[in-house]
Point group: D2
Chain length 326, copies 4
């Protein structure tokens, strides 16, 4: 087992609430184990531009509750080229860094995996994405906060839907994954949830809205993931306005508010636990894995397999949505 | 002075947080003074459709903290025709209603004013609108909540703006009035606030963004009222992307979340105070006025004058925004 | 399998956020399956006083987001006597009720279990308690909300602790169970978490506070469950003030705010899922069980075993707390 | 008029949400006017210990939304002695500081006033206290946030009060001033509000609780300021339990959560405006005043008069409370 002495941590891809809690955990667990911990700014980009600095325990004080990421994040095309990765490696080597923790989504893991294949710096991935669509973990850092932000926003919209007897079509984030839509839809009592993983029958929706109209149920919420087949809320509303022009229908696209904000208790705990486990993994010589949580236990998934998960959403949830919204 | 015995209350126009607190105050102050209090559903529409019901103290229990309006609201074109108002009058007369409290914006007040001119039912208006653009009052029911909702959302967006070094153009509500934009912009440290009451120089904004770019200040927030001359956030972003394509720029339209939610302390207090004062005014024979608050004192404004206020925003605020965002 | 036709639902014991979401789910799932659903007010007490009423789909509209319980709750000593249960049974029989859903904690389940032994009315228990201390389920309705409320409060206290360089001893709920303390302590970066399930060494705590003082770390948070061996926060502070009188130490007892408030997304989903599953269980003839969730699957536990769980908290959490707070 | 070149800013006394927004405004307005701005840590104490550092625009980036104070605060007895002030003066003089902005309450203003009498450093006070009890201003930095925090907490408690038909006695902050109690009490529909400025008749309260009990109104909220004549909530509950032992009565002391948290929109705006005005005042040669807001205009009050205001609370508020809670 190779001894680890100097590690670096970075955040990559879209930011997610709880990333700061994860950074804090990596830094303090590292220091506890007498490692030097470096922060890399702007994800892989900072590795190329040598934007790397030593972190102390104090550097991560009072950040567990903060949204965003103190290490910032960016997309970095050059890192996906061999020369880019070489340059990155050389910068890390100057500091004798012999372990790297990457907090991000499956795109970021691909980069880490390539890097670790080519160079002798072991990498650990931590799932940080609001979309919860990574194989090998039950939770991702940021999902619980994002979904609670969505629920809070939809609760507010329902007040106004209810005051005006309106139909609202609400778009939540999720280009490839509908988890935010599914969870926020169930939690707000939405009539329908549309998501990329599942074909929705617009005819059924129209028919049901008409049936609701007949029985004077005019307040209706439809939650749509941005990556839904109809093209998000604006796609859905077109169909509905065409066929039910008499309904008072509005669209609301929640957008970027879902990425920010103070992380929930759960996201902070997951982030803390995973950050701690990442350092333990590096010390144990376990590398090139993503550290996740499965059935409340730490689980390691090779970076090659920690890809965007093809989810099979249990069809029973849609039955529950239908029954409970009635 | 005519003795009042039976009063009715309704909410009209766009809903605003705190309307329920105002309804509660009207009902309980009415009952305290031994009046019968009726609720009219769906604004003026309920007067025409005779959707009117007696309210008790209990009817308004546990609603002070609720967004929306338990009396619902709707637009009603027929009320703007003489026959519509006649029908409404007849329905009220069947119940011997001799006083009407209308919670809404300036459009609703116009209806009330016409109605009170034609018929012998005194009306009292209460300013209920998130836009704070009514002459004769320092506050409107709902503004403080809406602006805090906007601030909370922009805080979240700033997390992500900061993580990615992005420019965000955020659209808040306000078709004719920029108060929500102004207040939320100051409170979130926005670089620029664009609003209908004031011409903005897009060239100045572009120049400043360029200057910020040169000094590596890439995180910028611009808050735009929907009724701004450029056509809201989507209008502004077009100009910016054309001339500064290199910036990572995003748009976020906050939308209907600004109308709902639990009212703030201030909105509940104003609503309670105004609802109570509305009943006092009816008992005193003061009628066809809007009851507002000016310099922390109850103020009466004839309904004819309680129109959308032409605001003159103090230019010093824009100096403050510029200086403090630097 | 006995056919079920008329079911009743009640909430019992301490209230918990999400109980309304569970009631809604039971009512609507029941109606979907063509059952008559009755609500019992004030827990078992309403069964004795015959405070029972038919519920419709509309009765539970717009309550998924509300704290508290629309069915109210109470303690009821008489139900723990044979005559009390007999009277309750007779009242249910008058309405031909042949299934009962009890939302509450382990105390309530004991009542349900006794009742179902003596009489031919099958009972289903749903775990509704903020303490998360019931065997047979990974989650209880209300825990996630309570712990987020605690975290939000402690975040606020940290602002003031940090401004004044103070030590705060914060007491959270949990008479027999320390889960709220453990989770909120990790999530807020507390230095120490004291809980009933685990002996804490006051000497170690004192020593560490002294060490922190020497290195000028004066901001410290200690989270204590009310049922801790030292007698909650007031017990702990006595020890500390005696031995470290120079520290600026304050106590904050969070109290009943932890029971109320809008439920989180997770609590609403769990409540919806369990309420739905309770009706399915009654229809399937599965009875006298608690319905819980284990590893994300519905799990049935005989009411006799759904008791307050002896938890064995993984000692590693305390290592994580120590390392991350350093 | 003496030219100002170097100014210092500090926060003193109890912390209040919005202090950071005020610091930010002082720093940036100062820099805009080409002043050097210094931050003093720990209030007056930092002046004595020479804990003073130059602040840049960047130092105050991203703090407008943060509770607490980045300059920390402390009580400092030595500053109330002539030698202490002399030492403080010498430290400021070393840096050629010729203007001082003190953000705090009336106690802090007394120190500033003494200091400015003895030495040639002009002082400006900004009212930063959650208690809103300073003469010469309609608002103080922190009050609006504190009262909204209290309202949010009481809303949660009401959920549980309502579920159990309980009487809750809730203590809010306010040793000498009852504004938090008054505002949060009105906003939550409390039955009674007890505060230091006004004698409450415990007999009337008892009688009313009994009358409520007779008409089955068992959910009651009483809001008490900590400085009330009965000794806060614990004092009040003693009286009630003695005479109405049959009621299910609970106490909740909100405590320090009222000091922290993200400031509301209003507190951020007031803080920004006052911080900006403080620098303008120093530049104009206006000194030894507190800068406040009266009727929405900047107002200057000599520090000698900016004392804890003897408030005369309008008796009509208590009539409103009584009527609306009925």
């Amino acid at each position: 087992m190779k001894k680890v002495n100097n590690i670096a941590v970075l955040t990559s891809g879209g930011d997610a609430p709880g990333m700061n809690a994860a950074i804090r955990a990596v830094v303090r667990a590292g220091i506890y184990h007498h490692l030097n911990v470096y922060g890399v700014m702007y994800g892989y980009k900072g590795m190329l531009t040598n934007d790397i600095f030593p972190m102390e325990s104090k550097t991560v004080a009072n950040i567990i509750q903060r949204g965003g990421t103190i290490l910032k994040t960016a997309r970095c095309k050059e890192f996906y080229e061999p020369e880019g990765r070489k340059k990155a490696y050389e910068n890390l080597k100057k500091l004798d860094i012999d372990g790297l923790v990457v907090i991000g989504g499956d795109g970021s893991f691909k980069g880490a995996q390539k890097f670790s294949e080519e160079f002798d710096i072991p990498c650990i991935g931590l799932p940080g994405t609001i979309d919860k669509d990574i194989a090998g973990t039950d939770f991702t850092i940021g999902f619980d906060t994002a979904v609670n932000t969505a629920v809070d926003a939809i609760d507010k919209i329902r007040d106004t839907a209810d005051a005006h007897d309106r139909l609202f079509i609400i778009e939540v984030m999720g280009r490839d994954a509908g988890y935010i839509a599914l969870h926020s839809g169930i939690a707000t009592g939405a009539e329908h949830v549309l998501m990329p993983e599942r074909k929705s029958e617009i005819d059924d929706i129209i028919n049901e809205l008409q049936a609701n109209e007949r029985r004077k149920k005019l307040v209706n919420l439809i939650v749509v993931a941005e990556g839904d087949e109809f093209g998000g809320a604006n796609g859905v509303v077109k169909h509905i306005k065409e066929r039910l022009p008499q309904l008072d229908t509005r669209v609301c696209i929640l957008g970027h508010i879902q990425r920010g904000g103070t992380p929930t208790c759960m996201d902070r705990i997951i982030a803390s636990r995973l950050g701690y486990a990442a350092v333990e993994a590096l010390l144990d010589g376990t590398h090139n894995v993503m550290v996740g949580v499965v059935n409340d236990k730490i689980a390691y998934t090779p970076l090659t397999q920690a890809v965007k998960a093809k989810q099979s959403i249990d069809e029973e949830w849609f039955k529950i949505i239908k029954i409970l919204a009635s």
